[in-house]
Amino acid sequence: MLATIPTLFGVTSISYFLIWVTAGDIVPGVEINPYIKQEDIDRIRHNLGLDQPFWLQYLNWLGLPNLAQQLHLIGGTWPKGILEGDFGRSLVDGSPVIDHIVERLPNTLELTTTAILIGVLLAIPLGVTGALRRGSKIDHALTAMSVAGVAVPSFWLALILVLVFSVQLRAWGLPALPSSGAYSPLVGFDPLDRLSHLVLPALVLSFGYLAIWSRFGRSSMLEVLSQDYVRTARAKGMSERRVVYIHALRNAVIPLVTLIGLELPALVSGGAVVEIVFGWPGIGRFALDRAFGHDYTAVMGIVTFAAILVVLGNLLADILYAILDPRVRYT
């Protein structure tokens, strides 16, 4: 666990460096037009502290000078940094980055958790069925489906689904799903409305998970079914149903659970493309917009956030594994 701190430092410094290098001599958020003079650009860059050397900007972002000043090691006033939980202000509109993240995070979580749930709830039965009826037509069909599921770019799938379930249905006068956004304007908080907006994006996002996890579930189940203890259980005369659904399944699900745990970082960044296509107001889309807009502080805020989640995710996966698989506890 102690190793996480240098990891976080590594992540943030590499990211900061990359962003700084890509930024160039521009003012984030200001489009070049002939009415903006070079002196304005220089002045604004100076006001934002962008003309300082890279390492100094990074230290300021971390907040080390502020900490040092609080410990009375140095004088002067320094901005707070991320070490004190201050994610800084967006370079484009001056508003706190944490506000942006907090506003959008629930939307992303809504989307990704739903997608993961759909993925899990469908992957387990599909995988188990494939394992149990190994070699049959159903197994082949399921395998084909899951392999096909990762063969389609998500924006492509999204376009097709929108054209069919949103535009076409409405053209035929049938009730149709909305094609964009997380909720309808001026409606307030209406769960049904939000749900109708959630269906298509979550479906598209879950496709990828579904395909991989059902394969994984199947192979995990097969592995478990070939184990000695399963043969023993059968030999003892236990009903097939008990063998499969109580003993084998529980053990087969374990590796799947750790896979899910490792998807924790994807909770934040995984849905970026789906968010773009569906105009979903989430963090992924926000991060992309700001990356293109060279808004360092915003991007760093998100990268740090995502990195923390990765670390937590790994931790969670380890814990889950320990809970579910007693063998691990004693190693």
């Binding site: 190793a3 240098p6 990891t7 976080l8 590594g10 992540v11 590499i14 990211s15 990359l18 962003i19 290098v21 890509t22 494939g130 190994r134 070699g135 197994d139 082949h140 395998t143 392999v147 096909a148 990762v150 063969a151 389609v152 770019p153 998500s154 924006f155 492509w156 376009l159 192979s219 097969l222 592995e223 070939s226 970082p265 934040v268 960044s269 970026a272 493309v273 773009i276 992924g284 991060a287 992309l288 990356a291 293109f292 991007v299 998100i302 990268v303 995502a306 990195a307 990765v310 670390v311």
Partner: protein
């Protein structure tokens, strides 16, 4: 996993009268037999090979078969449907779709295969070293991999493609499929190294390894002659499954606007461009999408067949 070198030593060459014995067969040839028996897998592999062949022959096709080049615009014949002159129709600038798909295959497949190869080389080496030596070297290397894997891939890709860094004499830019391949490889080698390291750890202390070490084999010999062949199977399977994923990644990068830039054709950017022109020509949208789908599907099926061939317990 059986060490091929060891098999020759271990199998007794007894000749009990009247008993036919199965000749010693290496792991590799056994796997090949299993693969050959898997008809779906072989068909898929054959399909991919065909795609690669067509892609490689792109200039020949342009000159002798299709009689168009992928950059020849014709503003008076935009969006034309399939016809005798243009077998698959033309795009928004009047360029022949068929030949663009063929050149696009060249670009997309180059990106995918090259990227996977580089990933394998770098990730495999790092994984082997980390797993084999262990200790502080393992710690440092895996720490670095952790850091790399903690940055969400999509942000890293964006930053790298905006950055267009220079590595030695090579300028990485996204208009060149080779440099795009390297950029994607930079982002994805981490996972592969972890996989390899895991395998190495499993194998490292097996009997045959200890045996080889005890007879005084050098580190290099141990790694190359004994460790690598066993790990290779895992690496190959992972690599072939990654090819499909990278084809999709390339199309997603094009969608965001950072992948291969027009007028160079790649399946991904043809697909992305075509979305705006959906109402003018459905062909433009369907064809690249279908090709991506078929190729990725074939590659995945082949990868699965490889995995089943190398490790028959999981076969259906």
């Amino acid at each position: 996993m059986i060490d091929p070198a060891a098999v020759e030593v271990a199998l007794p060459r007894t000749d009990v009268a009247g008993t036919a014995f199965r000749p010693a067969q290496s792991y590799w040839s056994e796997s090949w037999e299993r693969l050959r028996a898997n008809r779906v897998g072989m068909a898929a592999g054959g399909l991919v090979l065909l795609m690669v062949a067509i892609a490689a022959a792109a200039p020949l096709l342009a000159a002798y078969v299709v009689h168009h080049n992928p950059f020849g615009i014709d503003l008076y014949a935009t969006f034309s449907p399939p016809s005798g002159a243009h077998w698959l129709g033309t795009d928004e600038d009047g360029r022949d779709t068929l030949i663009r798909l063929v050149y696009g295959a060249q670009v997309t497949l180059t990106v995918a295969f090259l990227s996977v190869t580089v990933s394998l080389l770098v990730g495999g080496t790092v994984g082997l070293i980390a797993g084999f030596y262990g200790g502080w070297l393992d710690n440092v290397l895996m720490r670095f991999v952790d850091i790399l894997l903690s940055i969400p891939a999509i942000y890293l890709l964006i930053l790298l493609t905006i950055l267009q860094p220079k590595i030695g004499p090579v300028q990485l830019s996204t208009s060149d499929p080779r440099s795009l391949a390297v950029i994607i490889a930079i982002v994805s080698w981490g996972g592969l190294s972890r996989l390899v390291r895991g395998e190495v750890l499993t194998i490292k202390n097996r009997d045959f390894m200890l045996a080889a070490r005890s007879i005084g084999a050098s580190d290099l010999r141990l790694v190359l002659r004994h460790l690598l062949p066993n790990v290779l199977a895992v690496m190959i399977v992972a690599a072939s499954l990654n090819v499909g994923a990278i084809i999709i990644t390339e199309s997603i990068l094009d969608f965001i606007g950072l992948g291969i830039q027009p007028p160079t054709a790649s399946w991904g950017n043809m697909l992305t461009n075509a979305q705006t022109y959906f109402y003018h020509s459905v062909w433009l949208v369907v064809l690249p999408g279908a090709l991506i789908f078929i190729t990725v599907l074939a590659m995945n099926l082949f990868g699965n067949a490889l995995r089943d061939a190398f490790d028959p317990r999981l076969k259906s």
